[in-house]
């Protein structure tokens, strides 16, 4: 598909206008969006060719020449640290004859050499040369600079590595918009930051990437039924998941969102009547955020603004997303011994065709989290999230069914509904920016995700 075609195309082959797949008036989305091949090809250009995409964490490649292989849409990229410490993202396609240049999932190499004809590249993607230099096997029509691997634009935020193919598009800060204030509370709150607890879990399922991604945009409602077991096993939901449906959802038209949940009850359980008189510092020490030990509390006080600290100790963000395909989880999981363990995970839902996606699950902890706590977090994260995670195994069994359904000639005309609209609005004295909705979880965050999707899909440049 040529750039010209994809840039100007505003209708699918059957005449359907792309912008009409999402009915803005009625807040409905045609299910065919989960199975349409033509739409998928356009998404690869207009979303995965443009947006900032999560590729990993800088602690996966701590040393010069370290690299990992990752994906931006269906394009495989080499994420590598160069000699000078800078992180580079290069398309893993040899400009000579199209062979994959790098074939190990991770490693440390000063030179990436294509096994096919031996063209060689530095970790920053620069073309070194080919055998035999004297015979000029790369010719003289192209300069060596022109023969480098195609480079993506990179940013590192809170240690997370993001890249985009859009060299002149919005900066990562602009891409985050006013939601950055909340993400800073999660990713930029300690002196030494987060680290991965190992390479990511990876598995492929027969589902469209959007089935998973629109859910990650803070769908709190599904917890009540899909994750009902949390209420059935004593200790997790205390038998009543409905109360945990109340909170504050923050979101923006850029498609990002977070669900913040009230801690008031937990403080009452721990501190009783004195709960309302606790200072921010006392609250942080009593109930530290995921992965934060009591000793690290002063770091939070240093790195966050008073309003952010207030939120972190009353209504902290727990789960949410970053458009287009990243899930964020900073959740509190009650333990059998009555304590609460905080878990940190991020996922990328990577497209692998209209009906397939790869689930990539990174588990994280603060670098300064004491080792025993890190190990406890790691194990509990494996029990709850990802491949065998008792929570997420139910999610990953749902998305393939939605995707399968979306193929039927009648089914595809059914619409996804986002008509549960918050009527409470912004909580009084809410200190944070962006849209904020108080009360029972509603559809506003996911609807913003679809509006952002629509914006990307209809913007012709």
């Amino acid at each position: 598909m040529t750039d010209v075609m994809t840039r100007t195309k505003d209708r699918l082959a059957d005449g359907t206008r792309i912008d009409e797949l999402i009915d803005v008036e009625r807040r409905e989305v045609q299910i065919r969006t989960l199975s349409d091949h033509e739409l998928y090809d356009l998404e690869m250009e207009r979303i995965f060719g443009k947006a900032w995409l999560l590729l990993g964490h800088e602690t996966e490649i701590p040393n010069p020449n370290d690299f990992v292989l990752r994906s931006m849409g269906e394009d495989q990229v080499i994420v590598a640290r160069a000699r000078d410490g800078e992180i580079h993202v290069s398309l893993n396609v040899c400009p000579h004859r199209g062979m994959r240049v790098c074939r190990s999932d991770s490693g440390n190499l000063p030179v990436h050499r294509c096994v096919y004809h031996g063209w060689a590249f530095r970790p920053d993607g620069a073309f070194i040369g080919s055998p035999v230099e004297r015979e000029k096997m790369h010719g003289e029509i192209r300069t060596k600079a022109e023969l480098s691997l195609k480079k993506a634009r990179v940013t590192v935020y809170g240690g997370l590595i993001f890249a985009t193919w859009d060299q002149d598009g919005p900066s990562f800060e602009e891409f985050l918009g006013d939601m950055k204030w909340y993400y800073d509370m999660l990713f930029c709150r300690t002196d030494r930051g987060l680290e991965v607890l190992g390479p990511p879990q990876r598995f492929v399922l027969d589902a469209n990437w959007k089935a998973a991604s629109e859910q990650s945009a803070s769908d709190g409602f599904h917890t009540l039924t899909l994750h009902q077991w949390l209420g059935e096993i004593a200790g997790f939901g205390n038998g009543d998941l409905t109360t945990s449906m109340y909170g504050v959802e923050v979101t923006s038209r850029l498609g990002h969102s977070l669900r913040c949940t009230h801690l008031a009850k937990k403080f009452e359980q721990v501190a009783g009547a004195r709960a309302s008189e606790l200072t921010v510092e006392e609250r942080l020490a009593m109930f530290p955020p995921p992965g934060i030990s009591k000793e690290m509390v002063p770091e939070l006080m240093r790195n966050l603004k008073p309003d952010q600290l207030k939120l972190l100790t009353t209504t902290p963000p727990q789960v949410g997303n970053l458009f287009p395909n990243m899930l964020i989880a900073f959740v509190y999981v009650p333990q059998a011994d009555g304590t609460v363990l905080g878990l940190i995970a991020v996922h990328a839902y990577v497209p692998r065709g209209p009906g397939r996606m790869e689930f990539v699950n990174w588990l994280l902890a603060e670098k300064d989290t004491p080792e025993p706590l890190k190990q406890a977090m790691l194990r509990e994260s494996i029990h709850m999230f990802g491949t065998s995670g008792m929570i997420e195994q139910d999610d990953s069994d749902t998305w393939p069914e939605m995707t399968q359904v979306a193929r039927g000639s009648q089914s595809r005309k059914v619409t996804l509904k986002y008509q549960a609209i918050n009527t409470v609005g912004r909580p009084a004295d809410w200190p944070g920016p962006a849209e904020a909705y108080d009360g029972f979880t509603k559809d506003d965050t996911q609807w913003n995700w679809w509006l952002a999707y629509r914006d990307h899909m209809v913007s012709a440049d």
């Binding site: 000063p110 030179v111 050499r113 031996g118 060689a120 530095r122 070194i128 040369g129 080919s130 055998p131 035999v132 230099e133 004297r134 015979e135």
Partner: protein
């Protein structure tokens, strides 16, 4: 690194595996003082000892070999 080497009164020796060399010529491009190419474009050394002051360049040249045909050894003099 250079000062360490001097202090230890040791020097670097190049071990070149001509069988692996594919004539990329990257080594000769980075450190022509140490790495030479023959008529076929393959690695040859006038001397396998790295002259003082060229340690870093020689190391970079060896590290950049796409065939990993060059290795540096620390030897006592």
């Amino acid at each position: 690194m250079t000062t360490d080497v001097a202090a230890q009164k040791s020097t670097l020796r190049v071990v070149a595996d001509r069988g692996s060399c594919c004539g990329y010529g990257v080594c000769a491009e980075i450190c022509p003082e140490v790495y030479k190419l023959d008529e076929a474009g393959l690695i040859v050394l006038d001397s396998d000892l790295v002259p003082p002051g060229l340690e870093e360049k020689a190391r970079e040249g060896a590290e950049s070999c796409p065939q990993a045909a060059l290795r540096l050894e620390l030897i006592e003099v």
